[in-house]
Amino acid sequence: MSDSPVSDSTLSASTAPGETASVRARPPRGLGLALLASELAILFRRTRTIAMLAALAAVPILIAVAVRVSSSGSSGRGPAFIDQITQNGLFVGVAGLILCIPLFLPLTVGVAAGDTIAGEASHGTLRYLLVAPAGRVRLLIVKFLGTVAFCIAAPLVVVLAGTVIGAILFPLGNVTLLSGDTVSISESLGRALLMSAYVSVSLIGLSAIGLFISTLTDTPVGAMAATIVISVAAQVVGSLDQLAWLHPWLFSYHWLGVVDMLRQPILWSSFGDNAILQLGYVIVFGALAYSRFVTKSILS
């Protein structure tokens, strides 16, 4: 009935009194990266995000301060990494990162990913973004990239805060790796950043799950809690020998493989296996989120 592009003829015909009346259809300009820039700005300027990153930064700082205050030399107890801090401040960031992997990092990622769509829905801004129109697929991609940015920032903050406080409170020196080799300060800093990148990749599968859960509800807290519960559940399952057949499929399977970045030579296969596993999660849960979100009735 209205196949023909009627706009041109009717716009000029029906609005004779006011020549300024009609707006010409505006084609999209470029990729529209402004929305991504705005998403990142809102995410990282938000008090909640800043508080989460500050809490993460506090972990290595607390470790370092606690070790320094009670430094009676090596007691032989506690994790090996913590013991090494006193000899070399460069270990503080690494120790903090490993300590944050099982719970603190998944927790903050669960908050960031669970909030993506459900948070917009609860504010009511989802309908205004879509009417703008943001485009549902574009919005989903922007939201996912936002959580990926958070996954990059979160471990980085731990490593940087740890390295800085370590440099302040403890002596620095060449680092002895797990394999027994010794590397220079500058290379050990590179290793720390590599570990941070490994952990970022590790968290991406979880953020895809969080994104999908976030499309299911209008209650961000529910989506956050569900994502966090899933990350804990995956690690519980991962510790049960009876379910060993399932372990390679868990997104948390390679999480502690981050220490392979401390070997000489670096076990790149560990990095690659982890990346492939996470990519699989992104594809599966990205597809689920897509199929859910493009057909979702926006009633919030």
């Binding site: 300009r29 809102i42 309908r127 703008a132």
Partner: protein, 343 residues
């Protein structure tokens, strides 16, 4: 102002919004039931209906937020939601109240929502945000966080968002909600000035007097269906006038008016100073648009009331308002069963 919605108003392509058999079912609940809307270009179209009538669901379907169960939608001459990406940049909307990020300022909120629209020029963004804020009188509060805004300010910000880019169509759901009388007047004059520029304005409201002052066309929705649609005069004039009797004997007045073939009822919402005094209303159906009382002589009714011994304190023939028509159409009237109150 609305003269351009005249002769060819219903020609194909001259409709800003057109739906055919639009239906939405939520489970077993039929929220919208085969709605045929025809909103002429250049009109100010009032969309009326009681709460739960399906207005907001209809608006959500028009904007592609909710998929229709069946039926077709055309907005600005293009099918929806298929042409959503090219149609929506030309549509400004306020849907079910304003919604913003409470932790951002008013200007930052508009900035954010504007980035969502790929068709606009990012270089002019700050200017357009400032202009939109000035247009709704929020220039002074641009830097204030939205959580510190009053409801009326949020409503204005919602209007500003609808005005961020030049639009062909504005869909405004309850634009005066939460505004003080001054704000209501400002919104009214804003809508008038937009309409004067040729923008079609589709406005839903509960404020019938507002619609009556503003709109050239109306549609009345009730229980998911359109019960009346057309120009304001056509919808209003279907019920030309009513008789209003103030009396201490409402039962007698009801009986006398019923004898004239009218359907009187006791007004429940009009209070009088004296507790015994009641107001009896009787709509007078128009059989001939030229004669307001359709052959029934008001003076004959007065004589009959007096003859029947009904004490009459007041008697008036009132022109019907849109409100009367609305109540009659949506079944919110309070009809007294005939004669059952005879002693």
């Amino acid at each position: 102002m609305t003269g351009n919605a005249g002769s060819n108003a219903f020609a194909p392509g001259a409709l800003a919004i057109e739906t055919h058999g639009l239906t939405k079912r939520f489970g077993s609940h039929l929220a919208v039931d085969s709605v045929d809307l025809a909103v002429p270009r250049g009109s100010v179209f009032g969309f009326l209906g009681p709460n739960g009538a399906g207005k907001t669901t209809t608006i959500r379907m028009l904007l592609g937020l909710v998929g229709a169960t069946s039926g077709s939608i055309s907005v600005l001459g293009q099918p929806m939601p298929a042409s959503l990406a090219s149609v929506l940049p030309r549509v400004g909307a306020l849907v079910e109240g304003p919604a913003f990020y409470p932790f951002l300022s008013g200007a930052a909120n508009l900035h954010r929502l504007d980035t969502a629209d790929r068709s606009v020029d990012g270089a002019t963004r700050s200017d357009r945000v400032a202009q939109a804020l000035d247009r709704v009188g929020l220039g002074h509060a641009a830097g204030k966080k939205v959580k510190a805004y009053s409801l009326g300010m949020k409503q204005r910000l919602g209007l500003a968002n609808a005005l961020l880019a030049p639009r062909d169509l504005l869909v405004l759901d309850e634009p005066s909600n939460g505004l003080d009388p001054q704000g209501t007047r400002e919104v009214r004059s804003l809508i008038r000035s937009l309409a004067a520029d040729g923008t079609t304005v589709f406005v839903s409201s509960h404020l019938l007097a507002e619609i009556e002052q503003l709109c050239s066309h109306v549609a009345v929705m009730s229980s998911g269906r359109i019960v009346s649609q057309g120009t304001l005069d056509a919808v209003r004039d279907q019920d030309v006038s009513r008789i209003r009797v103030v009396t201490t004997d409402p039962v007698g007045a009801l009986r006398v008016l019923a004898d004239f073939g009218l359907e009187p009822s006791v007004a429940t919402d009009e209070s009088t100073a004296d507790g015994d005094v009641r107001v009896v209303l009787a709509p007078v159906p128009a059989t001939d648009p030229g004669h307001r009382t359709s052959g029934i002589q008001p003076e004959a009714i007065v004589a009959a009331l007096v003859a029947a011994g009904v004490p009459v304190r007041g008697f008036t023939v009132e022109e019907s308002s849109l409100e009367d028509r609305f109540v009659a159409l949506t079944g919110e009237g309070f009809a007294i069963a005939e004669g059952h109150s005879v002693r």
